[in-house]
Protein backbone atom coordinates (compact mmCIF):
# COMPACT_ATOMS: atom_id res chain seq x y z
CA UNK A 1 0.00 0.00 0.00
CA UNK A 2 2.94 2.31 0.76
CA UNK A 3 4.03 2.24 -2.86
CA UNK A 4 0.58 3.13 -4.08
CA UNK A 5 0.63 6.24 -1.92
CA UNK A 6 4.13 7.16 -3.03
CA UNK A 7 3.07 6.95 -6.66
CA UNK A 8 -0.07 8.94 -5.94
CA UNK A 9 2.04 11.65 -4.31
CA UNK A 10 4.32 11.82 -7.33
CA UNK A 11 1.39 11.97 -9.75
CA UNK A 12 -0.17 14.82 -7.78
CA UNK A 13 3.10 16.74 -7.93
CA UNK A 14 3.48 16.15 -11.64
CA UNK A 15 -0.01 17.09 -12.80
CA UNK A 16 -0.14 20.19 -10.65
CA UNK A 17 3.29 21.28 -11.86
CA UNK A 18 2.10 20.90 -15.45
CA UNK A 19 -1.01 22.92 -14.76
CA UNK A 20 0.92 25.56 -12.85
CA UNK A 21 3.09 26.23 -15.89
CA UNK A 22 0.22 26.06 -18.36
CA UNK A 23 -2.42 28.06 -16.46
CA UNK A 24 -2.86 31.72 -17.38
CA UNK A 25 -5.26 32.40 -14.56
CA UNK A 26 -4.19 33.32 -11.05
CA UNK A 27 -6.93 31.27 -9.40
CA UNK A 28 -5.95 28.13 -11.26
CA UNK A 29 -2.31 28.70 -10.46
CA UNK A 30 -3.09 29.06 -6.80
CA UNK A 31 -5.09 25.82 -6.79
CA UNK A 32 -2.30 24.06 -8.65
CA UNK A 33 0.21 25.17 -6.04
CA UNK A 34 -1.99 23.96 -3.22
CA UNK A 35 -2.39 20.55 -4.86
CA UNK A 36 1.37 20.42 -5.43
CA UNK A 37 1.79 21.06 -1.73
CA UNK A 38 -0.63 18.25 -0.88
CA UNK A 39 1.42 15.90 -3.05
CA UNK A 40 4.57 16.79 -1.15
CA UNK A 41 2.78 16.36 2.18
CA UNK A 42 1.50 12.96 1.04
CA UNK A 43 5.08 11.98 0.27
CA UNK A 44 6.11 12.97 3.80
CA UNK A 45 3.22 11.17 5.51
CA UNK A 46 3.81 8.02 3.49
CA UNK A 47 7.44 8.12 4.57
CA UNK A 48 6.24 8.38 8.15
CA UNK A 49 4.34 5.12 7.69
CA UNK A 50 7.37 3.46 6.13
CA UNK A 51 9.07 2.48 9.42
CA UNK A 52 9.58 -0.60 11.54
CA UNK A 53 8.14 1.03 14.65
CA UNK A 54 4.64 0.17 15.73
CA UNK A 55 3.12 3.62 15.28
CA UNK A 56 4.18 5.92 12.44
CA UNK A 57 7.08 8.36 12.74
CA UNK A 58 5.72 11.56 14.37
CA UNK A 59 8.43 13.84 12.98
CA UNK A 60 7.06 14.04 9.41
CA UNK A 61 3.61 14.61 10.87
CA UNK A 62 4.89 17.64 12.75
CA UNK A 63 6.74 18.86 9.65
CA UNK A 64 3.59 18.53 7.55
CA UNK A 65 1.56 20.44 10.14
CA UNK A 66 4.08 23.24 9.85
CA UNK A 67 3.97 22.97 6.07
CA UNK A 68 0.17 23.21 5.94
CA UNK A 69 0.10 26.29 8.12
CA UNK A 70 2.78 27.94 5.99
CA UNK A 71 0.89 27.03 2.80
CA UNK A 72 -2.34 28.52 4.13
CA UNK A 73 -0.48 31.72 5.07
CA UNK A 74 0.94 32.01 1.58
CA UNK A 75 -2.49 31.34 0.07
CA UNK A 76 -4.02 34.06 2.22
CA UNK A 77 -1.47 36.58 0.96
CA UNK A 78 -1.98 35.47 -2.63
CA UNK A 79 -5.78 35.79 -2.38
CA UNK A 80 -5.53 39.24 -0.94
CA UNK A 81 -3.01 40.36 -3.56
CA UNK A 82 -5.17 39.04 -6.42
CA UNK A 83 -8.26 40.77 -5.04
CA UNK A 84 -6.26 43.97 -4.72
CA UNK A 85 -5.09 43.69 -8.30
CA UNK A 86 -8.62 43.12 -9.56
CA UNK A 87 -9.79 46.18 -7.70
CA UNK A 88 -7.02 48.28 -9.23
CA UNK A 89 -8.05 47.08 -12.67
CA UNK A 90 -11.70 47.99 -12.25
Amino acid sequence: MIWFYYILAILLVIISLYHFIVARNYVKRLIALNILGSGVFLFFITTAKNTNTESPDPVPHALVLTGIVVAVSATAIAVSLILHLNKEEE
Partner: protein, 288 residues
Protein backbone atom coordinates in the same frame (compact mmCIF):
# COMPACT_ATOMS: atom_id res chain seq x y z
CA UNK B 1 -9.20 -1.68 -1.26
CA UNK B 2 -10.43 1.38 0.61
CA UNK B 3 -7.04 2.95 0.12
CA UNK B 4 -7.23 2.31 -3.59
CA UNK B 5 -10.69 3.81 -3.92
CA UNK B 6 -9.81 6.87 -1.84
CA UNK B 7 -6.59 7.41 -3.75
CA UNK B 8 -8.32 7.19 -7.11
CA UNK B 9 -11.01 9.59 -5.98
CA UNK B 10 -8.36 11.99 -4.73
CA UNK B 11 -6.54 11.85 -8.03
CA UNK B 12 -9.72 12.36 -10.05
CA UNK B 13 -10.79 15.32 -7.94
CA UNK B 14 -7.36 16.87 -8.39
CA UNK B 15 -7.58 16.35 -12.15
CA UNK B 16 -11.08 17.79 -12.35
CA UNK B 17 -10.08 20.77 -10.24
CA UNK B 18 -7.11 21.49 -12.45
CA UNK B 19 -8.80 20.76 -15.76
CA UNK B 20 -12.12 22.53 -15.50
CA UNK B 21 -12.43 25.79 -17.39
CA UNK B 22 -14.72 27.34 -14.82
CA UNK B 23 -12.88 28.63 -11.76
CA UNK B 24 -15.97 28.09 -9.59
CA UNK B 25 -15.92 24.40 -10.47
CA UNK B 26 -12.19 24.27 -9.75
CA UNK B 27 -12.87 25.68 -6.31
CA UNK B 28 -15.57 23.11 -5.56
CA UNK B 29 -13.41 20.22 -6.65
CA UNK B 30 -10.52 21.64 -4.65
CA UNK B 31 -12.60 21.51 -1.48
CA UNK B 32 -13.53 17.91 -2.26
CA UNK B 33 -9.85 17.23 -2.83
CA UNK B 34 -8.96 18.71 0.55
CA UNK B 35 -11.58 16.63 2.30
CA UNK B 36 -10.45 13.42 0.60
CA UNK B 37 -6.83 14.09 1.46
CA UNK B 38 -7.94 14.51 5.06
CA UNK B 39 -9.48 11.03 4.89
CA UNK B 40 -6.24 9.68 3.43
CA UNK B 41 -4.26 11.13 6.32
CA UNK B 42 -6.57 9.20 8.63
CA UNK B 43 -5.90 6.02 6.66
CA UNK B 44 -2.17 6.70 7.03
CA UNK B 45 -2.52 7.02 10.80
CA UNK B 46 -1.95 10.76 10.89
CA UNK B 47 -5.11 12.00 12.63
CA UNK B 48 -3.46 15.25 13.74
CA UNK B 49 -2.63 16.16 10.19
CA UNK B 50 -6.10 15.11 9.08
CA UNK B 51 -7.72 17.46 11.56
CA UNK B 52 -5.66 20.41 10.40
CA UNK B 53 -6.01 19.50 6.74
CA UNK B 54 -9.79 19.26 6.81
CA UNK B 55 -10.26 22.53 8.68
CA UNK B 56 -7.36 24.56 7.30
CA UNK B 57 -6.42 22.98 4.00
CA UNK B 58 -9.94 22.29 2.89
CA UNK B 59 -12.40 24.60 4.63
CA UNK B 60 -10.42 27.82 5.16
CA UNK B 61 -8.45 27.60 1.91
CA UNK B 62 -11.68 26.70 0.12
CA UNK B 63 -13.46 29.73 1.55
CA UNK B 64 -10.53 31.95 0.57
CA UNK B 65 -10.63 30.59 -2.95
CA UNK B 66 -14.38 31.10 -3.18
CA UNK B 67 -13.91 34.67 -2.05
CA UNK B 68 -11.35 35.00 -4.81
CA UNK B 69 -13.54 33.43 -7.49
CA UNK B 70 -16.37 35.80 -6.66
CA UNK B 71 -14.09 38.80 -6.83
CA UNK B 72 -12.11 37.97 -9.95
CA UNK B 73 -13.26 37.96 -13.50
CA UNK B 74 -10.10 36.87 -15.20
CA UNK B 75 -10.63 34.35 -18.00
CA UNK B 76 -8.53 31.23 -18.22
CA UNK B 77 -6.87 31.63 -21.59
CA UNK B 78 -5.57 28.63 -23.39
CA UNK B 79 -1.79 28.39 -23.26
CA UNK B 80 0.32 28.25 -26.41
CA UNK B 81 1.10 24.82 -27.76
CA UNK B 82 4.77 25.51 -27.21
CA UNK B 83 4.23 26.23 -23.52
CA UNK B 84 2.20 23.06 -23.15
CA UNK B 85 4.86 20.96 -24.84
CA UNK B 86 7.52 22.50 -22.65
CA UNK B 87 5.51 22.02 -19.47
CA UNK B 88 4.74 18.45 -20.43
CA UNK B 89 8.38 17.74 -21.07
CA UNK B 90 9.51 19.16 -17.72
CA UNK B 91 6.78 17.32 -15.83
CA UNK B 92 7.58 14.06 -17.58
CA UNK B 93 11.26 14.47 -16.75
CA UNK B 94 10.50 14.96 -13.08
CA UNK B 95 8.10 12.01 -13.14
CA UNK B 96 10.84 9.69 -14.43
CA UNK B 97 13.27 11.13 -11.94
CA UNK B 98 11.01 10.60 -8.97
CA UNK B 99 10.02 7.11 -10.03
CA UNK B 100 13.70 6.24 -10.06
CA UNK B 101 14.03 7.75 -6.62
CA UNK B 102 11.25 5.50 -5.32
CA UNK B 103 13.41 2.45 -5.96
CA UNK B 104 15.98 3.76 -3.49
CA UNK B 105 13.64 4.19 -0.52
CA UNK B 106 13.98 1.52 2.14
CA UNK B 107 11.90 0.76 5.17
CA UNK B 108 13.84 2.12 8.13
CA UNK B 109 13.39 3.61 11.57
CA UNK B 110 14.60 7.15 10.99
CA UNK B 111 13.91 9.34 14.02
CA UNK B 112 10.74 7.59 15.19
CA UNK B 113 12.22 5.34 17.88
CA UNK B 114 14.30 8.22 19.24
CA UNK B 115 11.16 10.31 19.66
CA UNK B 116 9.34 7.56 21.53
CA UNK B 117 12.35 7.01 23.81
CA UNK B 118 12.49 10.66 24.80
CA UNK B 119 8.76 11.22 24.99
CA UNK B 120 8.64 11.07 28.78
CA UNK B 121 11.17 13.90 29.00
CA UNK B 122 9.16 16.25 26.78
CA UNK B 123 6.33 17.21 29.12
CA UNK B 124 3.56 15.97 26.81
CA UNK B 125 2.34 12.48 26.04
CA UNK B 126 1.38 12.95 22.43
CA UNK B 127 4.33 12.26 20.14
CA UNK B 128 3.36 14.75 17.43
CA UNK B 129 2.93 17.57 19.92
CA UNK B 130 6.17 16.65 21.64
CA UNK B 131 7.96 17.11 18.32
CA UNK B 132 5.98 20.23 17.48
CA UNK B 133 6.36 22.07 20.75
CA UNK B 134 9.45 20.67 22.40
CA UNK B 135 11.89 18.76 20.20
CA UNK B 136 11.38 21.04 17.23
CA UNK B 137 9.72 23.93 19.04
CA UNK B 138 11.95 26.42 17.28
CA UNK B 139 10.40 25.49 13.93
CA UNK B 140 7.01 26.13 15.42
CA UNK B 141 8.08 29.53 16.70
CA UNK B 142 9.07 30.54 13.18
CA UNK B 143 5.88 28.98 11.83
CA UNK B 144 3.75 31.07 14.18
CA UNK B 145 5.85 33.96 12.91
CA UNK B 146 5.01 33.11 9.30
CA UNK B 147 1.27 33.06 9.84
CA UNK B 148 1.32 36.27 11.91
CA UNK B 149 3.45 37.90 9.26
CA UNK B 150 1.14 36.81 6.46
CA UNK B 151 -2.01 38.15 8.05
CA UNK B 152 -0.46 41.48 9.01
CA UNK B 153 0.91 41.60 5.49
CA UNK B 154 -2.54 41.47 4.01
CA UNK B 155 -3.77 44.02 6.54
CA UNK B 156 -0.96 46.34 5.48
CA UNK B 157 -2.23 46.24 1.90
CA UNK B 158 -5.25 48.09 3.17
CA UNK B 159 -7.87 46.34 1.10
CA UNK B 160 -11.27 47.87 1.77
CA UNK B 161 -13.71 45.30 0.50
CA UNK B 162 -16.80 44.19 2.30
CA UNK B 163 -16.57 40.56 3.33
CA UNK B 164 -19.05 38.32 1.58
CA UNK B 165 -21.98 37.33 3.75
CA UNK B 166 -25.15 35.38 3.46
CA UNK B 167 -28.19 37.12 4.87
CA UNK B 168 -30.14 34.25 6.32
CA UNK B 169 -31.87 34.41 9.72
CA UNK B 170 -31.51 30.67 10.19
CA UNK B 171 -27.75 30.80 9.73
CA UNK B 172 -27.55 33.79 12.03
CA UNK B 173 -29.31 32.04 14.87
CA UNK B 174 -27.51 28.80 14.24
CA UNK B 175 -24.04 30.38 14.24
CA UNK B 176 -24.80 32.27 17.43
CA UNK B 177 -25.96 29.11 19.09
CA UNK B 178 -22.97 27.18 17.82
CA UNK B 179 -20.20 29.61 18.73
CA UNK B 180 -19.98 28.94 22.48
CA UNK B 181 -19.88 25.21 21.82
CA UNK B 182 -17.14 25.64 19.26
CA UNK B 183 -15.13 27.76 21.69
CA UNK B 184 -15.29 25.05 24.34
CA UNK B 185 -14.78 22.19 21.94
CA UNK B 186 -11.73 23.85 20.39
CA UNK B 187 -10.29 24.51 23.83
CA UNK B 188 -10.87 20.86 24.62
CA UNK B 189 -9.04 19.80 21.46
CA UNK B 190 -6.17 22.10 22.37
CA UNK B 191 -6.05 20.55 25.82
CA UNK B 192 -6.23 17.04 24.33
CA UNK B 193 -3.03 17.82 22.48
CA UNK B 194 -0.99 17.26 25.62
CA UNK B 195 -1.76 13.55 25.68
CA UNK B 196 -3.62 12.50 22.54
CA UNK B 197 -4.77 13.66 19.12
CA UNK B 198 -5.27 17.41 19.03
CA UNK B 199 -3.29 20.52 19.71
CA UNK B 200 -3.10 24.25 19.39
CA UNK B 201 -3.24 24.54 15.62
CA UNK B 202 -6.07 22.04 15.39
CA UNK B 203 -8.09 23.78 18.07
CA UNK B 204 -7.28 27.22 16.71
CA UNK B 205 -8.30 26.25 13.20
CA UNK B 206 -11.56 24.85 14.52
CA UNK B 207 -12.32 28.05 16.42
CA UNK B 208 -11.45 30.03 13.31
CA UNK B 209 -13.99 27.93 11.43
CA UNK B 210 -16.63 28.82 14.03
CA UNK B 211 -15.74 32.50 13.84
CA UNK B 212 -15.88 32.44 10.05
CA UNK B 213 -19.36 30.88 10.12
CA UNK B 214 -20.31 33.64 12.53
CA UNK B 215 -18.97 36.21 10.09
CA UNK B 216 -20.61 34.47 7.12
CA UNK B 217 -23.96 35.26 8.67
CA UNK B 218 -23.07 38.94 8.42
CA UNK B 219 -22.31 39.58 12.09
CA UNK B 220 -19.30 41.21 13.67
CA UNK B 221 -17.73 39.96 16.88
CA UNK B 222 -18.53 42.12 19.91
CA UNK B 223 -14.82 42.74 20.46
CA UNK B 224 -12.82 45.92 20.09
CA UNK B 225 -10.32 46.04 17.25
CA UNK B 226 -7.48 46.52 19.71
CA UNK B 227 -8.39 43.31 21.55
CA UNK B 228 -8.46 41.34 18.30
CA UNK B 229 -5.09 42.89 17.52
CA UNK B 230 -3.66 41.62 20.78
CA UNK B 231 -5.17 38.17 20.31
CA UNK B 232 -3.53 37.99 16.88
CA UNK B 233 -0.15 38.87 18.33
CA UNK B 234 -0.48 36.60 21.35
CA UNK B 235 1.02 33.44 19.87
CA UNK B 236 4.18 35.00 18.56
CA UNK B 237 4.58 37.31 21.52
CA UNK B 238 4.14 34.71 24.25
CA UNK B 239 6.21 32.09 22.43
CA UNK B 240 9.17 34.41 21.88
CA UNK B 241 8.94 35.84 25.39
CA UNK B 242 9.07 32.36 26.89
CA UNK B 243 12.03 31.50 24.67
CA UNK B 244 13.77 34.69 25.75
CA UNK B 245 12.93 34.12 29.40
CA UNK B 246 14.57 30.70 29.48
CA UNK B 247 17.60 32.09 27.69
CA UNK B 248 17.91 34.88 30.24
CA UNK B 249 17.49 32.44 33.12
CA UNK B 250 20.42 30.50 31.79
CA UNK B 251 18.62 27.35 30.64
CA UNK B 252 19.12 28.25 27.00
CA UNK B 253 16.83 29.48 24.26
CA UNK B 254 13.49 27.59 24.28
CA UNK B 255 14.96 25.02 26.65
CA UNK B 256 12.37 24.06 29.22
CA UNK B 257 13.55 22.34 32.37
CA UNK B 258 11.66 19.08 32.85
CA UNK B 259 9.53 20.18 35.78
CA UNK B 260 8.40 23.36 33.99
CA UNK B 261 7.97 21.89 30.54
CA UNK B 262 4.30 20.89 30.82
CA UNK B 263 3.19 24.27 32.10
CA UNK B 264 5.31 26.17 29.54
CA UNK B 265 3.90 24.09 26.72
CA UNK B 266 0.37 24.63 28.03
CA UNK B 267 0.81 28.41 28.04
CA UNK B 268 2.30 28.36 24.57
CA UNK B 269 -0.50 26.13 23.28
CA UNK B 270 -3.17 28.44 24.66
CA UNK B 271 -1.59 31.49 23.08
CA UNK B 272 -1.18 29.74 19.74
CA UNK B 273 -4.78 28.56 19.95
CA UNK B 274 -6.22 32.04 20.38
CA UNK B 275 -3.95 33.71 17.86
CA UNK B 276 -4.38 31.05 15.16
CA UNK B 277 -8.13 31.42 15.46
CA UNK B 278 -8.13 35.20 15.19
CA UNK B 279 -5.47 35.33 12.51
CA UNK B 280 -7.41 32.97 10.26
CA UNK B 281 -10.62 34.82 11.00
CA UNK B 282 -8.93 38.05 9.97
CA UNK B 283 -7.51 36.35 6.89
CA UNK B 284 -11.06 35.52 5.84
CA UNK B 285 -12.46 38.97 6.61
CA UNK B 286 -9.52 40.74 5.02
CA UNK B 287 -9.70 43.56 7.57
CA UNK B 288 -9.75 44.01 11.31
Amino acid sequence: MLDLALGLMLFVSALLSLHSKDTMKSGVFFIIFGFLSGLIWVRLEAPDVALVEIILGSAITGLLIFKLVKGSKQKDLKAFTFTRLWAGFISFLILIFMLFHLTTIERQDRIASLVFENLHKSGVDSAVNAVLLNFRGYDTLLEVGVITLAIFGLLSLGLKREAYYWDNPLLKGFSRLLLPFIVFFSLYITYLGTFSVGGAFQGGALLAGGLVIFALAGQALPLKASIIYIFMMAGLGVFSLIGLLYALLGYGFLTYPLELSTISIMIIELSIWISTAFLLYTAYRGKL
